[in-house]
């Protein structure tokens, strides 16, 4: 006698989701900070430089949602406006690092052989320095400023991005469509930019998101050490550094900027994970 599984098959089968939750959450968090950094000064309740001497180190209240610091400045306003400095430094550092790493990795992967070997060994040497140490080295040579902090982040990122791009490019170099282009006699520049590069965007985008979360941490670290954003710019790293003496007495002066850092890092990581999941789902749907 035949056994019939009476389970309604179509409903029992799990359906693949189109939009990963991580992607949605990541975009929401990053979008919020992007809006803050774009229009922050116009939406905050107080000017970031305005001293309210009478209400210094006041706990969160109806008037000051995140409390005030030692000069009586509104912490909420400073956190919101401060997102601009962190986000700009991190994004600029990431973009610069990814762009340079992309060019080096792509060239190295396509050319191959000895030049590739030599370049990758140099990258290994750069990578053997701990990230923050290398960034400190660069900033202390060039001088403390936001621009130099961006440069130092880029220097740290270049070898890491180059490795990822190179390995992806190496895989594509022997793909049949690339060989077909070689048989046609296409120039190397055409093959690299038209045949290989368009297929590299998914891993590059995911890598850029991963880098971005490190960039946020590095930029606030540099600012904290006084090597990034300079006072009186409202900056999360600077805020934590300058107000840390009041941590016990008035914890909000440190906790809110620190919380903003954590939220942003989590947001960028979620975005990276979500993008990876989404790109993979799209790829398998195509197949």
């Amino acid at each position: 006698m035949a056994l019939t599984l009476s389970r309604p098959a179509v409903i029992a089968l799990p359906r693949a989701r189109r939009w990963p939750a991580a992607l949605v959450a990541g975009v929401a968090i990053l979008g919020m900070f992007a809006i803050f950094s774009a229009v922050g000064p116009w939406i905050v309740p107080y000017d970031v430089e305005q001293f309210h001497r009478a209400s210094a180190l006041q706990a969160p209240s109806h008037a000051f949602w995140f409390g005030t610091d030692r000069y009586g400045r509104d912490v909420l306003s400073r956190v919101v406006v401060g997102s601009r400095s962190t986000l700009t430094m991190a994004a600029a550092g990431t973009l610069l690092g990814v762009a340079l790493g992309l060019v080096l990795g792509l060239g190295s992967g396509y050319v191959g052989g000895r030049p590739d070997e030599a370049l990758m060994r140099v990258m290994d040497i750069v990578m053997s320095f701990p990230s923050l140490l290398l960034a400190l080295l660069v900033v202390s040579v060039l001088g403390a400023s936001a621009v130099n902090a961006v440069l130092s982040i880029a220097v740290v990122f270049v070898p890491r991005v180059a490795r990822v791009v190179r390995s992806a490019a190496l895989g594509l170099r022997t793909a049949e469509f690339v060989e077909a282009a070689q048989v046609r006699g296409e120039r190397a520049s055409w093959i690299v930019t038209r045949e290989i590069l368009p297929n590299l965007w998914p891993p590059i985008i995911v890598e850029a998101c991963v880098r971005m979360s490190f960039a946020v941490l590095m930029s606030v670290s540099l600012s904290y050490l006084g090597l990034g954003a300079q006072p009186p710019t409202p900056d999360w790293g600077l805020m934590v550094a300058k107000e840390r003496a009041f941590l016990v007495q008035a914890p909000w002066v440190v906790l809110f900027p620190a919380g903003a850092i954590v939220t942003l890092v989590i947001g960028v990581n979620l975005l990276g994970d979500g993008l990876r999941e989404w790109l993979m789902a799209r790829k398998s749907a195509d197949e």
Binding site: R7, A9, E176, E179, G185, A285
Partner: protein, 694 residues
């Protein structure tokens, strides 16, 4: 059928995918009796593997058996819990997969792996398990079983690995054996030996075998019954003799008719391809699944799903019109005007060569080990191509045949300029060709094009079909702007694709369509020579026939010469005018297709012809089997490359002296120490048995 080992009733399998629910198998019923070998035949997407995985209860995580029953020796497999299933799998039901590489654990010696299976299922003591494993190794004809026992999988060849997997499958004397394309990744001569082995093990142990394959030739060789699947449904079932002689379902008839055969060549007319594509399994047709592509369809076919009708001579067919179809007959060479063909062959061989390959050598240095470097030993080289001379004339197809590692692909790559030869030269239209494509003049690059094997990798996923076809037109200055777009549409029409495909991306195309685009891209440059590197081997048989017809048709219209690299002798027989057989970087034999496929043979060609699976039970092949694996192409020694495996080896001369070319009056060349007269006396390998009509 009470004696059935396996009884599948009304089985349906579905998969959840992002695009929706794929109904991979629908209402399939089949049974396997003890000692019987049942072939489950179908193309990709037919659901044959899903059915097998359902029987093993090993469907992917997103797959479910939605309906039906699978009984093994009367017990319902779908009702078994994990522990009970574990006891059945591996001991009473065993499985052999396509890729022996992934079936074996790379970190354990192969002997231990087989002994482990025995210990897990039979609780025999360690020493006895080892003894039994050694016996099995001897049964699967592994020479020197004791030494093989202690080897790791990577130390063995593909054929040896598959023997181990087969030994493992037979270890616990299973009642049912499921084999999923067990010889697909192997070379033909290895495949032939593995099939012999399975047949031998079958008579010894008499398990029921469910043999899943797309290769009808393998089915004809050693199965008892055939079940044909199409788009998730069983369309025909019956004895091998009946199905091959008198197929009843139009799909089965189409499959048998579209196969290239040794008794049919391109001058006899096109192959009977099955037009169209598999219906979507997201929403399978309510009526006959094959209706869309059926050459014999009528209005009634689109109305309701035909039931599986029993045939008078046994078996069943799912077609309403099977009684009305004419008697099945495959067109053969004898049907066509043979005289016309012979004349064409003569004309072509007289033409001056377009491409002249002279003593071409491609050696790759092998990286020296530290010890070798310190001892200042010279660097050794893999001699992928080692002194090959061939001529290719206009409008001629020269097939280069051989097994993996013989250097045929390297030869093709050297000609198109993907790698530089180490010595020798290639002349094209009288002018010497530079090694790499980038050093060749633009016009020379245009005149030599290439078609690759893998349709999935041959097109850039980020560029539309129109961009892919337009690029060579622009690059070679053939057409621009509106004229280019017009040419793209013409090219699409030439490969039988509609013009709106120009805007599609490769992932929107099927494998066969991608290969058509690749062919159009090669022809866009208006070349004189196209190197076709296994252009059909990744395609399903029904698609293969259409692409093959297309290549022949385009050649006839454009007078392009093909260098056709292939391992499939049936395809080569159909498509080629001249054939070169390669073994370990050297030529064994070269001549017109007619000469190469008939005596005198090179002993290697003889073995190849004996090994090809022919989808016709009425054809008999004399049994010639090669022992041992293909030896290393590093330092092959001064003698004949084939001497270590040659069944007709003369003696020491074969090892010490390179064989001379024996040239027949027709220009047919055979490189062998055996004199031509003796080679002439070798009887034909393939013969058609005259069977009395039953």
């Amino acid at each position: 059928m009470s004696d059935a080992v396996l009884e599948v009733r009304d089985l349906s399998v579905a998969y959840a995918t992002p695009a929706g629910v794929v109904h991979a198998v629908r209402g399939a019923s089949l049974s396997v009796a003890a000692g019987e070998t049942v072939a489950l035949v179908g193309e990709s997407g037919s659901g044959k593997s899903s059915l097998a995985f359902a029987v093993m209860r090993a469907l992917d995580a997103n797959g479910r058996v939605t309906h039906g029953s699978i009984r093994f020796q009367g017990d319902e497999l779908l009702a078994l819990g994990p522990a009970a299933l574990q006891r059945v799998r591996g001991s009473r039901i065993a499985m052999v997969f396509q890729d022996p590489h992934t079936a074996l654990n790379p970190t354990i010696t192969v002997g231990e792996q087989v002994a482990e299976v025995l210990r897990a299922h039979t609780r025999v003591p360690r020493a006895q398990a080892r003894q039994r494993a050694l016996e099995l190794f001897a049964q699967v004809n592994l020479a020197d079983a004791g030494r093989v026992y202690a080897r790791y999988p990577h130390e063995l060849s593909g054929g040896q690995q598959q023997r181990i997997v087969i030994a493992m499958a037979f270890a616990c004397a299973p009642e049912l054996l499921i084999m999923d394309e067990p010889t697909t990744g192997l070379d033909v001569t290895t495949e032939a030996r593995i099939l012999d082995l399975i047949a031998e093990m079958k008579t010894r142990h008499r398990p029921g075998i469910l043999y899943i394959t797309h290769n009808l030739g393998v089915v004809a060789r050693f199965c008892d019954r055939v079940v044909v699947m199409y788009a998730g449904e069983i369309v025909e079932e019956g004895s091998v003799r009946r199905v091959f002689a008198a197929p009843s379902h139009p799909y089965t008839r189409g499959l048998l008719a579209c196969l290239p055969r040794l008794d049919r060549v391109k001058h006899d007319g096109p192959l009977a391809a099955i037009e169209g594509a598999l219906p979507s399994l997201l929403d399978p047709p309510r009526a006959c699944v094959f209706e869309e592509r059926c050459p014999d369809r009528r209005a009634v076919c689109a109305q309701s799903k035909p039931a599986l009708a029993a045939l008078p001579e046994g078996g069943a067919v799912r077609c309403v019109r099977w009684t009305e179809l004419p008697a099945f007959r495959v067109a053969t060479h004898e049907d066509a005007a043979g005289a016309v063909m012979a004349a064409t062959e003569r004309d072509l061989s007289a033409a001056p060569p377009l491409l002249a390959i002279d003593e071409l050598r491609c050696h790759y240095p092998v990286r020296r080990t530290l010890a070798e470097t310190l001892r200042r030993l010279p660097a050794r080289a893999v001699r992928a191509v080692d002194g090959v001379s061939l001529d290719l004339a206009r409008a001629v197809t020269l097939a280069v045949v051989g097994e993996s590692g013989c250097g045929k692909t390297t030869l093709g790559r050297a000609i198109v300029g993907l790698l530089a030869p180490s010595a020798g030269n290639v002349r094209f239209g009288g002018a010497a060709l530079a090694g790499l494509a980038q050093h060749r003049a633009r016009d020379l690059r245009r005149r030599i094009q290439v078609i690759f094997q893998n349709p999935e990798a041959t097109l850039n996923p980020q560029r539309t079909v129109g961009q892919a076809l337009g690029r060579p037109l622009e690059l070679f200055g053939l057409a621009r702007g509106a004229e280019r777009d017009r040419r793209v549409r013409e090219l699409l029409a030439a490969v039988h694709l509609p013009p709106h495909y120009a805007d599609r991306y490769p992932h929107e195309l099927s494998g066969g369509e991608k290969q058509r685009v690749a062919i159009a891209r090669a022809f866009a440059a208006e070349p004189e020579v196209i190197v076709c590197d296994e252009p059909l081997s990744a395609l399903d048989v029904s698609v293969q026939a259409a692409v093959l017809n297309l290549l022949v048709d385009l050649q006839r219209r454009s007078a392009t010469a093909y260098l056709f690299i292939s391992h499939d002798l049936s395809v080569v027989r159909y498509v080629s005018d001249r054939v070169a057989v390669m073994y370990m970087g050297r030529l064994c034999e070269e001549g017109t297709a007619h000469d190469v496929f008939a005596p005198p043979y090179h002993p290697y060609t003889e073995a190849l012809l004996s090994a090809i699976p022919i989808a016709d039970p009425a054809v008999r092949q004399r049994r010639v089997r090669l022992e041992g694996p293909v030896p290393s192409a590093v330092d092959p020694g001064p003698g004949c490359r084939f001497h270590s495996r040659c069944p007709r080896k003369l003696g020491a001369i074969c090892e010490t002296t390179a064989p001379p070319a024996r040239v027949a009056p027709s220009g047919h060349r055979i490189w062998c120490h055996i004199p031509l007269d003796d080679l002439n006396r070798i009887p034909p390998v393939v013969e058609r048995m005259e069977v009395a009509p039953s």
